[in-house]
């Protein structure tokens, strides 16, 4: 539904591929690229029309702020202070005076214009290489005014892609569990928000415990665990319609659900008589298949992006470790051999890495390893943190972190954090309440 609202994205000028600015995202970027985000210019009658519809005084500046905040959060860019800008937005968009932008040390410049046309919002924007004095990209698109924040995210995605050579992750959403109340009686609700924390919405009321929501590949459906009627079961929720259903007819607890990469199956654990095994259920024909067969705990399954393999968590060696197997359950192979316990493996959307949680000597780590278990790299250490989820471009991980309480059991909090694959740019992700179990959507517009 969301994606249908976008009407046109078109290139307004042919773009030649110059060898211009490039941002390397494979290293921790200690020198973020100085970029000037000139507010989108807007004529007075458009400004008034948007003010009426959106209750925003200047929608051009608002959209630019979204772009600016995204760029800053990425850690790769340093948006410059607008007070130093010498050129007015409407003139800069026509023909930037590169000397002026050079003077404030901008290396890249974004300009643009927003119009109110037939009750729609039309945006055009350009990306300029200041040093070369050249236009790098020019795009225009039209949408309903209410989508104005998404316009900012799409502009960021386009700029990010042009400058880094990889897809962005800004026009995305996060589904997570919102938490409130004392630690011994937490109230938990499903919640969804834009990647930058805007448009937060609760999807359940908090009457029953809910855990571990995960998006399907189109980000329209969510699978999660609910304790509805005190029967912990995997559920399926359609975000647009609000329709919910139990997945399968299992005589016991089902948990740890995820979608297959084609969205056709749900993979999950089913616990019975002290033994948890991994199962799949086909959402079309409802056929259930047992994938693992071992009297130990087998859980937290996650498919490789091509659907051919599954990584999962098992204690068959005596303690929690990470294993991979073919998607039919054959060729089970342990891949984690470092010191400590390993859990929550998640396969990167790029296919080359598995992110995990590690517990060693009383500390929790978020880390990554290659799919054969080599090249283990720990990104962050804390008192408690777990459950990484990949950004759709495989460059950022979001996870949750809990604080240690004092001797009286006070001071507990759970928050979402993100960190770059490089191990740099660790950030708190703001949520209106405490939060856990984040899952990152795919790119909503492609």
């Amino acid at each position: 539904m969301l994606r249908k609202l976008f009407i046109i994205i078109l290139v307004i000028f042919p773009v030649k591929a110059f060898a211009l600015i490039e941002v390397d995202i494979t290293r921790g970027n200690l020198n973020p690229l100085p970029i000037a985000v000139s507010p989108l210019s807007i004529d007075e009658s458009s400004r008034k029309s948007f003010e009426k519809v959106l209750k925003k005084k200047n929608i051009g500046s608002e959209i630019s702020s979204v772009v600016e905040k995204n760029l800053k959060t990425s850690g790769l860019f340093n948006p410059l202070n607008k007070d130093a800008f010498l050129q007015a937005p409407e003139i800069a968009n026509l023909k930037p005076r590169f000397e002026d932008w050079n003077l404030i040390k901008a290396q890249a410049l974004i300009t643009g214009k927003v119009n109110f046309i037939d009750d729609k919002l039309r945006v055009e924007f350009r990306l300029w290489d200041v040093l070369a004095g050249k236009e790098m990209m020019a795009l225009a698109f039209t949408t309903v005014p209410n989508n104005w924040r998404r316009v900012g995210h799409i502009i960021t995605d386009k700029v990010y892609e042009r400058l880094t050579g990889e897809k962005g992750y800004f026009d995305t959403r996060i589904i997570y569990v919102a938490e409130e109340g004392p630690k011994t009686r937490r109230v938990k609700k499903l919640a969804i928000m834009d990647q930058d924390g805007a448009n937060n919405k609760f999807l359940t009321l908090g009457n029953e415990l809910v855990l571990t929501p995960r998006f399907n590949p189109t980000s329209q459906m969510v699978t999660y665990l609910s304790y509805f009627r005190n029967l912990p079961r995997v559920y399926l929720l359609d975000i647009e319609t609000g329709m919910q259903e139990v997945v399968g007819d299992f005589p016991g607890m089902t948990f740890a659900p995820r979608f297959s990469p084609d969205g056709k199956k749900i993979i999950m654990s089913f616990a019975k008589e002290g033994n948890s095994e991994i199962f799949t259920m086909d959402l079309e024909n409802r056929i259930v298949e047992k994938i693992t067969n071992h009297p130990s705990i087998d859980t937290s399954p996650s498919y490789s992006p091509d659907g051919k393999y599954i990584c999962f968590n098992s204690d068959r060696s005596g303690y929690q470790q990470i294993y991979i197997m073919k998607s039919d359950g054959t060729n089970v192979k342990r891949i984690s051999f470092g010191k400590g316990l390993y859990g929550t493996p998640v396969w990167s959307p790029r296919g080359d890495l598995i992110a995990f949680t590690k517990l060693h000597k009383g500390k929790f780590y978020i880390g990554v390893m290659r799919t054969d278990g080599s090249g283990e790299r720990l990104l962050t250490e804390n008192f408690y943190q777990e459950a990484p989820s990949w950004s759709p471009n495989g460059r950022v991980l979001i996870f949750y972190r809990e604080t240690k309480t004092d001797d009286k059991g006070k001071g507990f909090s759970a928050k979402l954090w993100s960190i770059d694959l490089t191990g740099y740019n660790e950030r708190l992700v703001n949520t209106p309440t405490d939060a856990s179990d984040p899952s990152w959507s795919s790119l909503l517009s492609n």
Binding site: L211, A271, G343, G409, D437
Partner: protein
């Protein structure tokens, strides 16, 4: 599978006998033995002299001597009150990943269930519910609090 279980249960009983004599020698440190909770702060009673819960070591699902004693008392009480059905609620501490802890809680509750069954309680009267780490009884972040939270609690269902 079935035979396996019978064997396992038989072992538990033999082991229980052995361990009973051993426990008199081992020392208690405060409210914990090893890292298993041995105190009574959080314990409630199903009937006079019948504690409602048993405690586990970190990452373990093995029943301790004290746990088996508690469960034998519960079994006796259940035999006397044959109409009563129960839910065994399995829990883990906060020092583990959420999904693994759900499985661990289920395994702990089933350890208690298996033991009750060897003392003649029909599985029809027992259901199992794992809360993983979702319902700690002590909100502290210290070894003692964690030991109280690693538990299986027997709750009257009717």
């Amino acid at each position: 599978m079935k035979l396996n279980k019978i064997l396992k249960n038989a072992f538990l009983i033999i082991f229980a006998g052995l361990a009973l004599s051993a426990c008199a020698v081992s020392k208690k440190t405060g409210q914990m033995q090893g890292d298993v909770y041995t105190g009574t702060d959080t314990v409630e009673y199903l009937a006079s002299g019948v504690p409602d819960r048993v405690f586990f070591a970190t990452n373990e699902t093995v029943l301790t001597t004290a746990s088996r004693e508690t469960l034998r008392k519960q079994a006796a009480w259940l035999r006397k009150n044959s109409k009563i059905t129960i839910v065994l609620e399995g829990h883990a501490d906060e020092r583990g990943t959420r999904e693994y802890n759900l499985a661990l809680g289920e395994r702990r509750a089933n350890a208690a269930k298996d033991y009750l069954m060897t003392y003649g309680i029909s599985s029809d009267r027992i259901s199992v519910l794992s809360y993983g780490k979702e319902r700690p009884v002590d909100s502290g972040s210290n070894p003692l609090a964690w030991s109280k939270n690693r538990r299986s609690v027997t709750v009257k269902a009717n």
